[in-house]
């Protein structure tokens, strides 16, 4: 999986809700080389730095990216039209580590906070064994991909902060409840969301031991290639680069 700088065509761009968009780009290379948890580094016009967006899923010769408008870059990206060209470097980052022998007695729990759902769809497609997806967002409107997860064989539970769908609360609370009723040490967790959520997940799993917990981080990023040291996060082993050492980390290497 060598990263390449490519010019790719926007195959389609769809508004999923108020500020979440699904972008499809045509690239046989990116579609065949990307692994779950890796990201693509997009040069969006009128910006200076690239914007890192994780691969949401791949279909044939297309790579999909699910993104939320967060600032100027993603706002401009949302206005790209079908047929326009994007300059992209990818695939980048280490992605989720997928165990080869997925023992049937283990359960995979995927925890998504808000737009953190983006890389977990691709992961859900590749994971074997039992899969439970916990989706958390502020309101019902921001819960996305529920049906798609069910289609790839996942059970889905939902939490919203305002209680407009599922339980009233967060994805982390769903996780706590799920772990309480399960056998310790037979669960793999994969999570993506705000850093605060990931840190809460760490607290939850301290009282409910799990096999492994992998978490995907986001950070303001420069080059995406490990040269500028701009996108570091603080871990118990010192500063680590999200672009090169991550974006996926074992949670116990962080806290």
């Amino acid at each position: 999986m060598k990263a390449k700088q490519l010019k790719v065509k926007v195959k389609d761009i769809k508004k999923v809700n108020d500020n979440i968009f699904l972008l499809s780009i045509s690239s046989a290379y990116l579609a065949s080389q990307s692994r779950p948890g890796q990201f693509l580094h997009f040069k969006i016009h009128s910006t200076i730095l690239r914007r890192p967006l994780s691969v949401h899923r791949v279909k044939g010769k297309e790579a999909h990216v699910l993104f939320k408008i967060r600032g100027k870059g993603t706002e401009i990206l949302s206005r790209y039209k079908k047929g326009e060209i994007l300059d992209v470097i990818g695939p980048l980052g280490n992605g989720f580590f997928l165990k080869k022998a997925a023992a049937m007695e283990t359960t995979n729990i995927l925890v998504a906070g808000g737009i953190g759902v983006a890389p977990l769809m691709f992961l859900a497609e590749k994971l074997r064994g039992e899969k439970l997806v916990l989706l958390g967002a502020k309101t019902k409107k921001e819960i996305v991909c529920e049906l798609e997860f069910r289609r790839v064989g996942c059970k889905v539970s939902v939490a919203t902060e305002d209680g407009s769908k599922g339980i009233k609360g967060t994805a982390t609370e769903l996780l706590r409840k799920t772990l309480m009723g399960s056998e310790a040490g037979k669960i793999n967790i994969y999570a993506c969301g705000p850093q605060e959520m990931l840190s809460q997940i760490n607290n939850v799993i301290d009282s409910h031991p799990v096999l492994e917990c992998q978490v995907s981080f986001e950070q303001f990023m420069g080059c995406g290639l490990g040269v500028c040291c701009g996108c570091t996060i603080e871990t118990k082993h010192g500063y680590k680069k999200v672009c090169k050492d991550g974006p996926v980390f074992n949670i116990k290497d962080v806290w």
Binding site: K43, T47, Q219, F220, C223
Partner: protein, 307 residues
């Protein structure tokens, strides 16, 4: 048959001849090897490494990089593996790159700078030193290049240690940058490199906290180009040693502006983060411009601004 015009892009910096005048600035290109596969190294005049310090440095607390409307702020703080780590892990790969390699040297004391240069004098594959007297992210009361006396003294001390090309990178955060450049020249350096980043800050009004983990940082990118161009022009007019000019260069036309303003070589920084192969693109662009203008030698273009 079409007559082939030979274009000379070679420029001389003391004993070092660069194949072309486009160099990649410290901090924007790592140690080069990280970018293998994305960069045409043969087409780059020189790369300047990440600044190395005597001891390993973890760097500043995150977030360290933030894009504003028209520029980029960073507070990386010279994260690097330290002199021994660089010699062991980075230097062997650096030596293999098919371009000139300038090592950027940083530090907190004069002794530290001298210690690093002394140690590197025994190593092969280094084409010169760029002494970084202007990193804005070290939380010093003032950067060395903010004192003309200290700049002169350190330059002179380093000059005694090496016959290799010696460049000094200075900060624009001074009252009169020409005076800093005089100090560099008087100290015996082969070239002065400018500008380093401008001090800057941005605040998130939602959290009411600064965006950067260490509150402020260095500002670079397209916003600073007119500021750095002016400073390069002023310095080039006033000193005899060559000027390596940069600050916000993104395109061929930006690069040519700096050459017209008097820079012998031009350095790319922030643009490399988005387009790692931009140096190579700009070299091709400069060739095209020269053909169009009927100039066969890049050295005839330097300082030609009609001002």
């Amino acid at each position: 048959m079409k007559k082939k015009v030979k274009i000379n892009l070679k420029v001389k910096l003391a004993v070092l001849t660069l194949d072309n005048p486009v160099v990649c600035a410290y901090g924007s290109f790592g140690f080069g090897e990280e970018l293998r596969g994305l960069v045409n190294f043969k087409n780059i005049g020189a790369i300047i490494t990440k600044t190395i310090t005597l001891l390993p440095r973890a760097g500043n607390p995150p977030p360290r990089i933030y894009e504003t409307g028209c520029g980029v702020m960073n507070s990386v703080g010279l994260e690097n593996p330290g002199l021994d780590g660089v010699i062991k892990e980075k230097l062997p790969l650096l030596q293999k790159l098919p371009t000139s390699c300038i090592v950027s040297v940083g530090g907190f004391t004069s002794e530290e700078y001298q210690g690093i240069v002394e140690e590197l004098e025994g190593k092969r594959g280094i084409d010169g030193y760029e002494i970084n007297l202007s990193c804005p992210n070290l939380r010093l009361k003032r950067m060395i290049s903010q004192s003309e006396a200290a700049t002169y003294k350190l330059t002179k001390a380093l000059r005694k240690l090496t016959k290799r090309p010696l460049f000094i990178k200075i900060s624009p955060e001074v009252t009169d940058i020409v005076k800093t450049a005089y100090a560099v020249e008087a100290g015996g350096a082969d070239a002065v490199s400018l500008v380093n980043t401008f001090l800057s800050m941005a605040i998130d009004i939602e959290t009411q906290k600064p965006f950067l983990g260490s509150i402020y940082g260095g500002y670079s990118g397209r916003a600073i180009k007119p500021l750095s161009l002016y400073r390069v022009w002023r310095v080039a007019q006033n000193i005899k040693i060559p000027v390596i000019g940069g600050g916000g260069i993104e395109s061929t036309s930006d690069a040519i502006e700096f050459i017209l303003a008097g820079a012998i070589a031009i350095s790319l920084g922030t643009v490399n983060l988005a387009f790692p192969n931009q140096a190579s693109q700009i070299v091709e662009g400069i060739k095209k411009y020269m053909k169009r203008e009927n100039i066969t030698d890049i050295n005839k273009l330097r300082g030609k601004v009609d001002a």
